[in-house]
Structure formats: structure tokens, C-alpha cells
């Protein structure tokens, strides 16, 4: 029996290959996700109400401030939050299954098979004491029931797919014997090894040069088209996000502050944070002056003031912004949490 049968989702197969925002049920649906940290009587919320939906075959980008809760959101989907963190409220459904109601056994079957994740920090995600080929092959054997030789052959093919030269020899390498970008690609191979339906990619290309990055993105795009994989793509590389994503969510201080299809987000952003962020994109040109930045610091978690959390840094702020938390502006499938957008 395949793990997907256990989930009671086998009747959904074959997965239709669809484009962005296809009608019908999303593969992953997150509503009002809150994640809190703390001990004893001191709690603070790092994620303060995130809504996200991803359909099969879709690539949804998550961008935004460092520390805004992107990785925590991703880890929550895999139910791999760090110690001390807990989901304080919210709903998460994956292929019809309530992720928060699933027991640990059920989650284990999902992780590494129907849901694959490329972790932001490959060194802590990989086992330092095992050759990387074994780690990939073990996962393939567990989830697909292949024999040792077949699993290793598949692992080798996967390393080749992510552009690792001499994949047969590299199967035997330990994580510390690989370069940063090679480790990142091993994580990618591991994440897609069992044909996941959802791939969560947390900064999957930070250690890759642009040619290898293009190769890895092309590989992901191919499996997206062929298998209808949905991808949650977390990245600070906005030019890359604009190239590969269908929709984009922008996070600030634990919330999605703007969401739109990619063209609308980059061509007609409605949230001042998005606008100010886009102005900071470094471009390959001959300028040598200082780089543009957004002055100021994001708010301190646990002490987020009333009103709009971006107000102290916002170039469009007005009186209402510090008084009341902004309502949501909506136009079709474009949303922004901002008073100025609502004016």
C-alpha cells in the first residue's frame, strides 16, 4: 500500500496538471496560522495569522523581511517546529487531511514522501555521520519500498539532476565534504526523491551560482509540469521569484501583508512595504553608490505596537496608521493589509 492510500487521497489521482490558481480545491490550505514561543508566563507570537493556499501545479512565492516568520510557517506545515514553539491557533489542510489532527505516525508517512522540504539550513537537516547517498537511498527505500541497489541508482540519478558532477562518487561523500551549494542540492534531491505532491523550498538557491540555480529551477519546473507538484518557494531573491512564481505572498512581522499574482505584485504593488522592498533589489549595473535600504528596524516580537506594524518605517503612513490595525484591501485576487490602499 502506498502512503498516499493511507491518507485516503488515492481517489484524487491522477493529479491534474494545472497552472496557477486553478479552480477547485487547493492542495494546501492554511488559515489563521499563529505560532507562539515561550516558557512559563512569557509568550510571544512570531507568526500572527498567516493565510496561504496552494493548488497542484502552482508555485507560490513567500518573500519578506528577515525574521518575519517564513521558515516557521514552513516548519509548521511539516509539523517540525523547534522546541519551545507551538501552533497557538489556525487550520492547515493538505489534500483533504487536517494536518493538525494527524498523529505522529501519520505525519511521518507524509514527511519525505507526499510533502518534501528543502530546509534553509542543510547542515542541520542532513545527518553528519552518514554518506549523503545513503540518506537519499534510505528515504527512497522507506517510502517507495525499493531495494538497496535500485534506491542507490535513483539517488545517483537525482544527484545528477541537481547538477552534481560525478554523482556516483558523491553518493559516498559525507555532508561536510561537500560545498555549501552541493549540500543545498543534496537537500533538494532528498526533498523530491519520492515525488512529493507539495515541495516546500526554504531558500533553496542561496548557495548556488546563477547557472546551477537556473538548472535546479528548470528541474523543479519540469517536475511541476509533469507531476503537478505544488511548490512553496521561500526566497529573498526577488528577481528569481518574479521569474518562477505564479503568486506571491509578502510577509512582514508575522503576517502576510500583500498577496497577488506575480505580475500584479511586481508591477502594481499596493502595500508600501512591498514597494519599498522592490526598490532595494540590487541590479547588475555600474552604480557604485550606497545601496537603497528601508530605514529602521522591524518591530520587536511580543511588543508589536497597535496600529500598523510597518508604520514607523512607512513612507506613506498617516494618522490612522498608528491608531488602528489596517483592514484588508481586496481587488479580485490581490490583497493588502494597508490603510493607504483602502483610501
Amino acid at each position: 500500500m502506498s502512503p498516499r492510500d493511507d491518507l485516503g487521497v488515492s481517489d484524487m489521482a491522477p493529479i491534474p496538471v494545472v497552472g496557477r490558481g486553478a479552480p477547485g480545491k487547493p492542495l494546501l490550505e492554511i488559515e489563521g496560522l499563529h505560532i507562539a514561543f515561550g516558557a512559563r508566563d512569557r509568550w510571544f507570537e512570531a507568526v500572527r495569522g498567516v493565510d496561504l493556499r496552494i493548488h497542484a501545479g502552482e508555485v507560490v512565492g513567500v518573500v519578506g523581511e528577515s525574521g518575519s516568520g517564513k521558515s516557521l510557517t514552513a516548519l509548521a506545515i511539516m509539523r517540525l517546529l523547534p522546541r519551545g514553539a507551538r501552533i497557538s491557533s489556525g487550520r492547515m489542510r493538505f489534500a483533504g487531511t487536517d494536518l493538525l489532527a494527524l498523529d505522529e505516525r501519520g505525519m511521518n508517512r507524509l514527511r519525505g514522501s507526499a510533502m518534501g522540504m528543502i530546509f534553509q539550513d542543510p547542515l542541520t537537516a542532513l545527518n553528519p555521520a552518514l554518506p549523503v547517498g545513503h540518506q537519499i537511498a534510505d528515504s527512497i527505500r522507506t517510502h517507495q519500498g525499493l531495494g538497496r541497489a535500485a534506491a542507490l541508482a535513483r539517488a545517483e540519478a537525482l544527484l545528477d539532476l541537481v547538477g552534481i558532477a560525478r554523482p556516483r562518487e558523491r553518493l559516498r561523500a559525507f555532508p561536510h565534504e561537500l560545498s555549501g551549494g552541493m549540500r543545498q542540492r543534496v537537500m533538494t534531491a532528498l526533498a523530491v526523491a519520492n515525488d512529493p505532491r507539495l515541495l516546500i523550498a526554504d531558500e533553496p538557491t542561496t548557495a548556488l551560482d546563477v547557472t546551477v540555480q537556473a538548472q535546479v529551477m528548470a528541474m523543479l519546473d519540469r517536475i511541476r509540469r509533469e507531476l503537478g507538484i505544488a511548490v512553496l518557494f521561500i526566497s529573498h531573491n526577488l528577481e528569481l521569484v518574479a521569474e518562477v512564481c505564479d503568486r506571491v505572498a509578502v510577509m512582514y512581522a508575522g503576517r502576510v501583508v500583500e498577496g497577488a499574482v506575480v505580475e500584479a505584485l511586481f508591477e502594481a504593488p499596493r502595500h508600501p512595504y512591498t514597494r519599498q522592498l522592490l526598490r532595494c533589489i540590487p541590479r547588475l549595473n555600474d552604480e557604485t553608490g550606497p545601496m537603497p535600504t528601508i530605514p529602521g528596524l522591524p518591530p520587536r516580537l511580543g511588543a508589536i505596537p497597535g496600529g500598523c506594524p510597518f508604520a514607523p518605517r512607512c513612507d506613506a503612513a498617516f494618522a490612522r496608521c498608528t491608531a488602528e490595525a489596517p483592514d484588508i484591501w481586496r481587488r479580485g485576487d490581490h490583497m493588502a493589509r494597508c490603510w493607504e490602499a483602502l483610501r
Binding site: 528577515s66 547542515l123 555549501g180 537556473a214 521569474e243 503568486r247 499574482v261
Partner: protein, 299 residues
């Protein structure tokens, strides 16, 4: 005179300011680093395990006060070369000279001066941080090691945190209690706390949002211009490298294939690999493949 005493004033990008003539601050001579490739049992038994060169005869001279960029293929040897430059890794052959002296021969006081004067920001953000040490202690120890008087340390800690855009509450956190980009900035703060003459920064801004990238790059520019901090910047981000480096080297498979000012290397590349690299830089919406189907969407 140490480069830190050389307050030569503003030097915007310094593209027009060659550094020839001065004695190099750091020199790499014919550096080679080999590793045995892990092969099957047979190769091991017959003793024919192949060796591969992660760094294959690289020579470089870093002039005091310059910002030098190192770009290239993933796995081409940039981190290996960086670690050799800061003395964390011994080369299989070749020499590293700091202020003209072979670091392998440095002893006592001179060795200490090299250890302190050359600092590294690691690509892997966990490498430089002890998982059981709170950020405050990690940074305070670095400040103390650089000779800061005890009384000055609390204020210096706050100044450092501010420079890298971190809230002072993070001082009481452990490394694993930070986001990827927050930890990366602690790594930068720790290296700067040592008040180095040479900073080797291996992908220091890869996990930062573009606003923070700008802030860190501006900080490095300013330290370079104001204090003459010499910087070796390893980065996959060609736009960042173009912005602050006076000279860059492009590496492929353990070798430097092209070297020169960014205006030449990035805008009139000669080597085919450099051209391939530049052609692969993402181009935002303009780079979207026209083949992608467009269907109605929802937010």
C-alpha cells in the same frame, strides 16, 4: 603602519583607485588543496583512490584597503580558498603570506596578530557560533579578544547589533533561536567585533532580505572607506559584487579563469564561463518563460 591607521577618507567604490605598488596585505602563492575522492572498495584496495583538486594552483594578492570579490561555480573552491586564507585549513601545497610573512612560519606574537587581524564570516552560519553560547557572550568574547576594555564592551555590543540591523533583545538568544538571516548577521557582527584588518566574508548576505543586504553592503563599504578595512567578498550575487568590489576574480573548477575590475569582467567578459554566468542572472518578470500557461488566479 596598519591599514586600520590608514584613514584615507571617502573612497566611493574606489573603482578608479588602483592599489598596485603597495605591498599586499595577504598573498596566496600557488595554492593547491587536494582531497581524496571517495570511491568504491576496489579503488581503495588497489590504492588507486583518485585525488581531486578543490583548489588548483591559485595565486592572488590582496592589497591593503581593497575590496576583492570572488565569484564562481558552486563547488569550485571558493570556501576552501577562503578558509586557507584565514589559516583554518592548510593547503596541500603553496604559501599564504600575511604582511609579507609566511603564515606557516608565524609564531607567538606574530601568529596572534595574524589570527586577530584576519577574520572570517562563514557561509554556514552555525560554523562560527557555539550553539550553547548566547549571542551576548559570543560577541563580548570577540570584543575582549580584540583588546576592548571591559567597561567599553556593553556599549560596543549595542553599537554592533545596531550596525547589522539586529534588535538588542537578540543578545540574550542562543544561535538556534534566531532566523537564518538573523544568525547570518550575528556572524558578521562577531567577525567585525575582532576589529580585523582583513575580513574574508563567505556569502555574508545570502540569507538577508534585499533591504538588509543593502544595509550590510553599505556597512562594509563604509568600514572600507573610513577605516581602510580590506575585504574579500565571496558571493553568488553579481550585482552586489559589482557594487562594492574594486577587483573581482571568477573561479571555475578550482582555478581563477578571469580577473579584473568589475567594469571589465562583468560588462565585457572575456572567458566563456563568465559569459555563461552573466547570461544566467535572473531577470525578474522579463525572464518569465512565455510557455507558462496563464490561468485565473486567487490570492
Amino acid at each position: 603602519m596598519s591599514p586600520l591607521d590608514d584613514r584615507s577618507g571617502e573612497r566611493h567604490g574606489g573603482l578608479d583607485r588602483p592599489h598596485q605598488g603597495a605591498a599586499p596585505l595577504l598573498e596566496l602563492r600557488d595554492i593547491r588543496k587536494e582531497y581524496a575522492l571517495r570511491q568504491g572498495l576496489l579503488a581503495r584496495l588497489t590504492g588507486r583512490a583518485e585525488r581531486v583538486a578543490a583548489v588548483d594552483d591559485v595565486s592572488l594578492a590582496i592589497q591593503p584597503g581593497e575590496v576583492f570579490g570572488l565569484v564562481g561555480e558552486s563547488g569550485c573552491g571558493k570556501s576552501t580558498l577562503s578558509q586557507i586564507a584565514v589559516g583554518l585549513l592548510a593547503p596541500s601545497s603553496g604559501q599564504v603570506l600575511y604582511r609579507g610573512a609566511d603564515i606557516a612560519a608565524l609564531r607567538g606574537e606574530a601568529r596572534q596578530a595574524y589570527r586577530r587581524g584576519v577574520q572570517m564570516v562563514f557561509q554556514d552560519t552555525h560554523s562560527s557560533l557555539n550553539p550553547r553560547k548566547r549571542i551576548r557572550r559570543a560577541l563580548a568574547e570577540a570584543l575582549a579578544a580584540s583588546g576592548q576594555p571591559r567597561a567599553a564592551i556593553p556599549a560596543k555590543l549595542l553599537a554592533l547589533m545596531d550596525q547589522v540591523g539586529l534588535d538588542a533583545v537578540m543578545l540574550d538568544r542562543l544561535p538556534h533561536e534566531l532566523s537564518g538571516g538573523q544568525r547570518q548577521r550575528v556572524g558578521i557582527a562577531r567577525a567585525l567585533a575582532m576589529d580585523p584588518a582583513l575580513l574574508v566574508a563567505d556569502e555574508p548576505v545570502s540569507s538577508l532580505d534585499v533591504s538588509l543586504q543593502g544595509q550590510i553592503v553599505n556597512l562594509l563599504r563604509e568600514l572600507n572607506a573610513r577605516l581602510g578595512l580590506t575585504i574579500v567578498l565571496v558571493s553568488h550575487d553579481l550585482a552586489v559584487v559589482a557594487r562594492i568590489c574594486q577587483r573581482i576574480a571568477v573561479m571555475q573548477a578550482g582555478q581563477i579563469v578571469e580577473e579584473g575590475p568589475p567594469a571589465r569582467v562583468l560588462f565585457a567578459p572575456e572567458h566563456p564561463y563568465t559569459r555563461t554566468l552573466i547570461a544566467a542572472v535572473p531577470r525578474g518578470l522579463a525572464g518569465r518563460r512565455s510557455t507558462r500557461e496563464v490561468a485565473p488566479a486567487e490570492a
